[in-house]
């Protein structure tokens, strides 16, 4: 009985590891990564003062959760992608 449970558990983990579908990253981690990338590209002013303040009336995107975080990420990503594209087109 115990062996069967272990086997199923191991199979489920293996399936997840070898699946083509990437595991969904929690929004909080996605948000943290986006903010980190924006900071790396010196875009924190845009995403904090323009996007976050424009949407939610404050300039602290790191406190956003759930749907708010998702909406913020969608809009903030415009700035990040624009900066990335411009850098790529010049390099």
């Amino acid at each position: 009985m115990r062996d069967d449970e272990d086997r199923e558990r191991i199979l489920a983990i293996a399936e997840e590891i070898y699946s083509d579908v990437p595991a969904e990253c929690p929004p909080e981690i996605q948000l943290a990564e986006l903010l980190e990338n924006c900071a790396e590209y010196n875009l924190s002013v845009f995403v904090s003062y323009f996007v976050c303040d424009g949407l939610f009336g404050h300039s602290q995107p790191s406190v956003l959760t759930g749907d708010d975080a998702a909406l913020f990420m969608k809009r903030a990503d415009f700035f990040l992608q624009t900066a990335i594209k411009q850098r790529e087109s010049f390099s």
Partner: protein, 183 residues
């Protein structure tokens, strides 16, 4: 009104009665057009466009603030997504506007101009007559953006829908029911 574009000298800003324009321009020049927290305080008054040389004929609008002239006077509700100007503005208007974007990004200097356009939007005839300041902004890592601050509109002031509603309500309150003493 005819479609017209007039380039103004930067010193024009000193003569206008618009503290935001003055403060914004001096702040950006002082910060050498680098994105700064001070610049962030002007967010609601600005439209931010992609400054990539490839798209300067009609740069994408990345952000439109709540207190921009477009929002408060021309009744444009900035969508929550990147705006492709051809979906919102007329070709005449985009052609006029493009000169400023090109010059701003080529010179990496502030551009001040006066724009008059009979029909600015696709949605309907919307005559505009205003001044604007275009300011280059960079992240310091090769990416450039254009900040646009519009002011000094002298458009014929048609009542906005919200004002009409208030006026209509006031009119009803004052409605004269006495036929013997007409207004």
């Amino acid at each position: 009104m005819t479609d017209n574009l007039e380039r103004l000298d930067l010193t024009y800003i000193e003569t206008v009665d618009d503290p935001i324009a003055k403060h914004l321009v001096s702040s950006c020049i002082r910060n050498n057009f680098q994105l700064s927290e001070e610049f962030g305080t002007f967010a609601e008054n600005l439209v931010i466009l992609d400054g990539s040389p490839i798209t300067l004929a009609s740069p994408k609008i990345l952000f439109g603030g709540r207190n921009t002239l477009a929002s408060t006077e021309f009744e444009i509700n900035w969508p929550k997504e990147v705006v492709t100007p051809s979906t919102l503005f007329s070709s005449n208007y985009r052609e006029l506007a493009a000169h400023g974007y090109r010059d701003c990004m080529t010179s990496k200097e502030v551009v001040v101009e006066h724009i008059e356009c009979e029909n600015s939007t696709l949605a309907g005839q919307l005559p505009v007559n205003y001044k604007r300041v275009l300011i280059p902004q960079t992240n310091g890592l090769g990416a450039w953006f254009i900040a646009c601050y519009a002011f000094g509109s002298s458009r014929a002031r048609y009542p906005m829908a919200s004002e009409l509603s208030v006026r209509f309500q006031s009119a009803r309150i004052l409605e004269n029911t006495n036929l013997h003493t007409p207004y």
